[in-house]
Symmetry: C2
Subunit: 405 residues, 2 copies
């Protein structure tokens, strides 16, 4: 008798047939003896359709109202899934983010969970109900409806698993786990059985689309075991949890890539203390997620600074930089959307210093030019031309023998 | 500087173009100086679509979950309308039924408002915002999402107008007001300029589809002036309010009809005190809305009892009667869906005793057989064969000269 949190993404509940299949699986889990909390996303492309509708009625939809609108998507999926579970003879009750006690800050569209008041969920579990919770949404400290942004349903699931002390948080999706590379780019990509939180964090941060970064951070902080698996085959997938003693770390667990970033270059920045801080403080204040940063060697008391931001943040970045570049006396700034990032992730890199050198050699052999480099103890990332990304992924996947046996 | 509550039905906000047209009208009202509270239904056929979806996933959808599902419809319309109003340069904020403080009992699908805590609305109005409220929905005393049933958005609008002391409650719809008969049945039907609450109540109760009964009851209790008008022409429509002194009452204000009732006949009911009470208490306990009741003359210590119920309540009625008929020793019961009701409504009937006789003569001349009769001081209703209903409406409309000048 344990507690399982199951999260189902949009493709898992895309139509009535899929919803009934998920309901059967939930009922089976419950009847096997575990308590079950289900977190569900909006059906299929509902969220995209709603965003389009918003732009049909308003040139610049209000962020508060956009959150009100989008949260209707999960309201539909939780109630339908709940009906279907009850129809399987399994008592169930649905809760919106607000009813589930997901309290967030007031940043509409990208709210952060500040507290989870799970009393209603606990009461319903104690009463024997399966609890179905709307992912992606919460209620702000100002009592307004909020959304958690991209991957928000994963975050909801992991936050609930942490607060409720769940034995596992199962993330059901349309792929069978986490792969050594995106199978659409590298057909020899192989499912990974186990990853550490740190590896999964680096993969999520560098383009591994299966899990959102924030949900992995939550899981790591509270040591919530994650199990990423398919709602189409129901087969075991990839476990993300603390490595057990004695397990050997893979030198490279996967190759990730991301073509959604934009590279910004600020020219002729006066090379004085505090100038870089001015730029990145101004961007942080507008909630722009700066990723890689590179500063060139100084010449004539000036330097160039390059950094990457998500394409979604480009408008805000341009606004901020238009102001800041003038204030700091820079020569100007440009942006380049035709870039991509290729990364190697593996916990074993810590004790294998040659990985970076080998990566650069492989890319050089392929004629791929490296524009920016950043590293962590278990990751190496290179910014390259967008056109070179797929070739780079395939070459690295082969060079590090990730296709397995 | 007054306060206007405007309610828009599903056809008024059926698509982005209609939503923008409504937003313009709201902004125009606000800019003219009045505070505005807008109550809005789900877009077009959204609610019907959602009900269909529920039946696709579950044989018998849970009432609680159905309410959760259906309330997503107004969540979409309030947020879209609010964005469009803001886009007109008019500050606005949307509230769900729960956020608007619409507290109901726990009867899912047909909840009654028990309290309106309008503090958030008052605060937003004081801040200069147009307030857009989701119609049809509330939050129960058990903190679950509820819906108010058929015509629930009208009820929301009138309840808010009453609590906020609005100067008028404008009900925008796809017709230009209340008519002397359904124009689809009687092409000579004419828009009525003024009606008393009592007349509107009788019309709503007998098939006048423009306003739901409960919303008119609310309006009468709190003397809220109602203005039923078109959101397509924006022209003045029908006012429903207290008659001014000296205004003469029309003998007949309109002919209404309804073919949604079912006639139940209980055969050979033992003619003892308390038997009728047993039947109707059992139906009341299951929230069946019994309308007309007729008991035949007793023979051999037995009698027949006929009554009508809405078609929506038929399943529950059959369940209840199956039990009760056996308990009271009745011979059995039958139901007949091929009936209709035709009614004459007019405040002047009180002082004109010949109206009923004339109505029966008109129907007799048309060869329409009367199966049941019920009257109030300002209404006469006859149950007839469903096939005779349209002919009866047309004959009565002509005989009482309702086509006007």
């Amino acid at each position: 008798m344990g507690l399982i949190v199951q999260k189902y993404g949009g493709t898992s509940v895309a139509d009535p047939e899929r919803i009934r299949a998920v309901a059967e699986h939930v009922a089976r889990t419950r009847h096997a003896g575990d308590d079950v909390v289900v977190v569900v996303s909006a059906m299929g492309k509902t969220t995209d359709d709603l965003v389009r509708l918003a732009h049909d009625v308003a040139a610049r939809p209000s962020a508060r109202e956009l959150d009100m609108l989008l949260t209707s998507g999960e309201r539909i999926s939780i109630s339908l899934l709940c009906m279907a579970i009850i129809d399987q003879g399994c008592p169930a009750v649905s809760f919106t983010g607000s009813q589930a006690g997901i309290v967030t800050d007031t940043t509409h569209g990208k709210a952060r969970i500040v507290e989870v008041k799970a009393d209603r969920i606990r009461d319903s579990l104690a009463a024997g109900d399966v609890v179905v919770v709307a992912g992606f949404q919460g209620v702000s400290t100002a009592r307004d409806v909020t959304t958690l942004g991209r991957g928000g349903s994963d975050t909801t699931a992991v936050a609930l698993a942490a607060v409720l002390g769940a034995d596992a948080c199962e993330i059901y999706t349309d792929v069978s786990g986490v792969f050594t590379a995106d199978p659409r780019v590298e057909p020899n990509a192989r499912r990974v059985d186990h990853l550490s939180y740190e590896e999964m964090l680096e993969m999520a941060a560098t383009g591994g689309r299966v899990l959102a970064l924030r949900s992995v951070e939550f899981a790591r902080n509270d040591r919530v075991p994650l199990h990423v698996r398919s709602s189409f085959t129901w087969a075991a997938g990839t476990w993300i949890r603390d490595k057990e003693e004695g397990m050997e770390d893979a030198i490279v667990s996967g190759v990730t890539h991301d073509v959604s970033d934009v590279k910004i270059t600020v020219d002729r920045v006066p090379d004085r203390p505090g100038i870089a801080a001015r730029i990145f403080r101004a961007l942080a204040d507008e909630a722009v997620n700066v990723d890689m940063i590179e500063q060139n060697v100084s010449r004539d008391g000036h330097t160039d600074i390059s950094f990457t931001v998500p394409a979604d943040d480009l408008d805000r970045t341009v606004t901020v930089m238009g102001k800041v570049a003038a204030e700091i006396g820079a020569g100007g700034f440009t942006h380049d959307t035709q870039v991509g990032r290729v990364s190697l992730v593996g916990a074993g890199m810590k004790s294998n210093p040659g990985v970076a050198a080998e990566m650069f050699e492989v890319l050089a052999t392929e004629g791929v030019n490296i524009e920016m480099i950043s590293t962590s103890s278990i990751r190496i990332s290179c910014v390259v031309r967008e056109d070179d990304v797929e070739r780079a992924v395939q070459a690295l996947h082969a060079a590090f023998h990730l296709e397995g046996t």
